[in-house]
């Protein structure tokens, strides 16, 4: 009995030793890489923001001028959605956010939308989706120019009732064999623009007043 307990004890110690060593290794790697990972994520975000609004249009550090908003009905997700604000000499220039089109053909479509302070779209891009390859994936910029058709649009152009795909009486093209996907994207962009219009003042407010504030509306 005693020897069994003893050998079990030794095994447990060995296992514990490996657990500690392994956790230590992961912790060290995590500390060593976390700055680089954060920098890489920021660089990727900046690169995609700059594809919507040219760098020379603003002069602040967009990725640090951030406001988290929770508005499931408008932004398509119950998670906080970060809003990044671009300013020039303190004046609001544009706003970027990553709302979600929750009603894609196979799950949510994550969007990146840039909108100028006057309400016109700087552009829309798709960050992540699981739409059918070859049909719904034409929402990707590298597959089709469709997503570029949003650039320059606003809630006044076209009027809100025409913010639909052509099949539903709107102005936006659908794809052959895929209506659900563009319909979801058009709807999400329209809701986002409406949200920005309603909360314009708060969303563009200077960072000091609203820094890191979490919007509780809706």
């Amino acid at each position: 009995m005693k020897t069994v307990a003893r050998s079990m004890g030794i095994s447990a110690l060995i296992l514990a030793g490996f657990a500690i060593l392994g956790t230590g290794l992961v912790a060290v790697t995590h500390t060593a890489t976390q700055d680089r990972i954060a920098a890489a994520q920021r660089a990727a975000l900046e690169a995609s923001l700059n594809s919507l609004v040219p760098v020379d249009r603003y002069d602040n550090r967009v990725t640090e001028d951030r406001l988290d908003v929770v508005a499931p009905e408008w932004l398509g997700t119950d998670q906080p959605v970060p809003f990044y604000r671009a300013r020039k000499a303190g004046q609001p220039v544009a706003l970027f956010a990553t709302p979600v089109a929750p009603d894609g053909y196979s799950g949510s479509i994550q969007l990146l939308i840039g909108v100028y302070a006057d309400g016109t779209l700087a552009g829309v891009r798709v960050l992540a989706h699981r739409e059918t390859p070859g049909l719904g994936d034409a929402i990707e910029e590298r597959r089709s120019p469709w997503i570029l058709s949003f650039t320059g649009k606003s809630l006044a152009n076209p009027p809100p009732e025409r913010w639909k795909v052509k099949k539903d009486g709107g102005v936006f093209d659908q794809f052959t064999g895929a209506t659900v996907t563009p319909r979801a994207v058009v709807g999400a962009v329209r809701r986002f623009l409406e949200y920005v219009q309603i909360h314009h003042e708060r969303l563009f407010a200077p960072p000091a007043a609203s820094a890191r504030e979490s919007g509780k509306h809706e």
């Binding site: 296992l15 392994g22 992961v26 390859p133």
Partner: protein
């Protein structure tokens, strides 16, 4: 596998016992990620690195670990190695990390990793375990890349598309367009295409093996025939 020589280890890992083409292990990442050469190469290299490191570590500690607790220790070692590789990849190859996503942490569940630890590394010297990890990893990576090349060529008509994810700016020039104005063949990109392509690869391997066997059987006759004229020539 009566005698374990480096030659045998290499041959088994790369061809005779190829994880992907013979044992059919690790099919989940194999089928999911093999839609382009670059994705396949990225996951293949990550798996290779994990196999090599875990084999060496397991072989190093094989006298320390009692057989009763070896499996939990293997799992720990593999999980730590995979997490480290994942963090490193996130830091240094963020673009590729985004594409491979969940399949990097899933290397933990690739049974060929723990299989090699149990079947080979735990019983052999460090150098042999390292060569085995390298051979098996390379075999897996090569099968993955072959599958990726087949699917990308048929599905998109390109090779090495988006190579910049793996090689940086330099990679942009690597993309090869096989045909101008190729409309793409969707089936090859979709999951069924993965199964069909893997089936074709397996068939190809069996054909090659069968040929080799037939040649081996008839070798005495074939080898004798060309020997005479060469002798006559000199």
């Amino acid at each position: 596998m009566s005698e374990i020589t480096y030659r045998n280890i290499l041959r088994d890992g790369l061809w005779t016992q190829n994880t992907a083409l013979v044992s059919l292990l690790g099919l989940c990442p194999l089928l999911a990620i093999s839609n382009t050469v670059v994705n396949a190469l990225g996951l293949g290299l990550a798996t290779l690195l994990v196999l090599l490191t875990s084999n060496v570590t397991v072989s190093l500690v094989r006298h320390l670990v009692k057989p009763e607790v070896r499996l939990p220790v293997f799992v720990l070692v593999i999980a730590c190695v995979v997490t480290t590789v994942e963090l490193a990849m996130h830091a240094f190859l963020p673009g590729l990390y985004t594409v491979l996503g969940i399949f990097i942490p899933l290397i933990v569940t690739n049974c060929c990793v723990i299989g090699r630890a149990e079947a080979f590394a735990f019983k052999n010297r460090v150098a042999k375990a390292a060569v085995d990890g390298l051979a098996v990893g390379l075999g897996f990576a090569l099968a993955l890349v072959a599958l990726g090349a087949l699917r990308e060529a048929i599905g998109q008509g390109t090779l090495f598309a988006q190579a910049d994810l793996l090689f940086g700016e330099f990679g942009r020039h690597l993309t090869v367009h096989l045909l101008d104005d190729y409309r793409g063949f969707l089936l090859a990109i979709l999951p069924p295409g993965a199964f069909i392509s893997l089936g074709c690869l397996l068939a190809l391997k069996n054909v090659i093996d069968a040929r080799a066997r037939r040649r081996a059987e008839t070798r005495p006759v074939v080898a004798a025939a060309p020997a005479t004229p060469r002798e006559a020539g000199t």
